[in-house]
């Protein structure tokens, strides 16, 4: 065999063998990877509305989805809004639980973020950020409390704590939440959120 054919034969066979190997690995892991992604968002949707036992997606668009949260007896106890927007470094994806009338934020969870470790990444931290998002009045836009206070009770009903040194990340989360609630309200006015039980 001359050199050229040998080169072609070797590279082709290596490519074919690797390709078939990868096809198998891809097949085996594909379903689980899709399941993981879906599961993560659904778990977040369940968690942000306390007492919810099942969720169902009722609306979806790019970077925005609405889930219905129902309790064991099937009563609608809130909506979970999944939304994403620009953070300090990259997209922040979060889930926020709201009451059925869309006037109260029940709680917040961060699904995905790439903020600065030790500063902006604290948006995922329960003690320094998320705990101040419980039961906020969002009938008007939420606003940021700066500098932050220690006791959640000393915040006004429509205020949430900023993180010291990470105002941009805190503000980004706030904007995403406000925007998501506005969108949900619009959809509700158009009658796209089912009120059936």
């Amino acid at each position: 065999m001359n050199l050229a054919t040998r080169m072609i034969v070797t590279l082709t066979s290596i490519g074919l063998i690797s390709g078939s190997f990868l096809a198998i690995v891809g097949q085996v892991t594909k379903e689980r990877i899709i399941f993981n992604k879906k599961h993560e968002i659904e778990m977040a949707a369940l968690k942000v509305v306390p007492g919810a036992s099942n969720v169902k997606m009722i609306y979806e668009e790019r970077d925005f989805a609405i889930f219905e949260d129902r309790d064991e007896t099937g009563n609608l106890i809130g909506y979970a809004l999944q939304a994403a927007g620009t953070g300090f470094q990259d997209k922040i994806s979060l889930g926020v639980g709201v009451s059925p009338d869309l006037n109260t934020v029940l709680s917040l969870i961060i699904i995905d973020q790439k903020e600065t470790p030790g500063l902006g990444a604290k948006i995922t931290d329960e003690i320094s950020f998320l705990q101040y998002w419980k039961n906020r009045d969002c009938s008007k836009s939420l606003i940021l409390r700066k500098p932050p206070v220690d006791n959640p009770n000393s915040l006004a009903p429509n205020e949430v704590n900023a993180i010291t040194g990470a105002t941009i990340s805190s503000q980004a989360v706030l904007n995403i939440v406000n925007e998501a609630i506005k969108k949900a309200r619009q959809l509700q006015a158009e009658g796209k959120l089912s009120e059936r039980h």
């Binding site: 070797t10 590279l11 490519g15 892991t29 030790g118």
Partner: protein, 206 residues
């Protein structure tokens, strides 16, 4: 140069030819994902897996592959194992996969792996290549783990998420950021140089 014993072949990767502190190869991933112990562990394991299997295959086919296409063949082999590692992590350890972001796919261009394939596995017997790969990945693993331990402890007061230092210690946020990685790596290399120098001095006197 006399042929090394298998034991020497293994230990050179841990110290004498440690890929990070001596050869300064594959630093990108070491700097980027050593901000927590768990990330360092996962990255170390992923590199170990890829390095051992690509060295094995490269050594197996070293006599079949024509010299002109060897680099291309090596890269295809390495990329195959990296993709397997990446998909497996994404399927079974989604949290780790997320924390490491693009750095698992980037193992393809990690110089340690192509470097060992080209400099060692393509010229040596299979058993020797695997021992060399084990030593090299061991050296990588230990160094990235050490970086992760120090950076997580000083930057976040924790190790593997468990609080170690009390409230009295104010975390050095810089340790979690890129500058902290460069500072730590510089110190580790400097310290290992000093130790190496002392060892050589002693050997000279004997």
């Amino acid at each position: 140069m006399a042929e090394k014993t298998r034991k020497q072949e293994f230990f050179k990767g841990l110290w004498g030819e440690n890929p990070i502190t001596r050869q300064l190869l594959g630093l990108c991933s070491v700097l980027a994902v050593s901000n927590a112990v768990i990330n360092g562990l996962a990255m170390g394991l992923a590199v170990t897996f890829v390095l051992i299997f690509s060295s094995l295959i490269v050594s197996l086919i070293r006599k079949i592959v024509p010299n002109q296409v060897r680099i291309a063949s090596f890269i295809v082999i390495i990329a195959t194992f990296v993709t397997i590692a990446d998909r497996t992590l994404a399927a079974y350890f989604p949290h780790l996969s997320k924390a490491m972001g693009p750095y698992v796919p980037l193992i393809v261009v990690n110089c340690i792996i192509l470097g060992r394939a080209e400099a060692f596995a393509s010229k040596n017997k299979v058993s020797r290549s695997v021992i060399d790969a084990l030593g090299m990945s061991g050296g990588y693993f230990l160094t990235i783990l050490l970086m992760g331990l120090i950076r997580e402890l000083l930057g976040n007061r924790t190790i593997l998420g468990y609080p170690i230092l009390g409230k009295w210690f104010s975390p050095w946020v810089v340790m979690l950021l890129p500058p902290g990685a460069f500072i730590m790596l510089g110190l580790i290399i400097a310290i290992s140089n000093v130790i190496d120098f002392k060892i050589k001095e002693r050997q000279k006197r004997v």
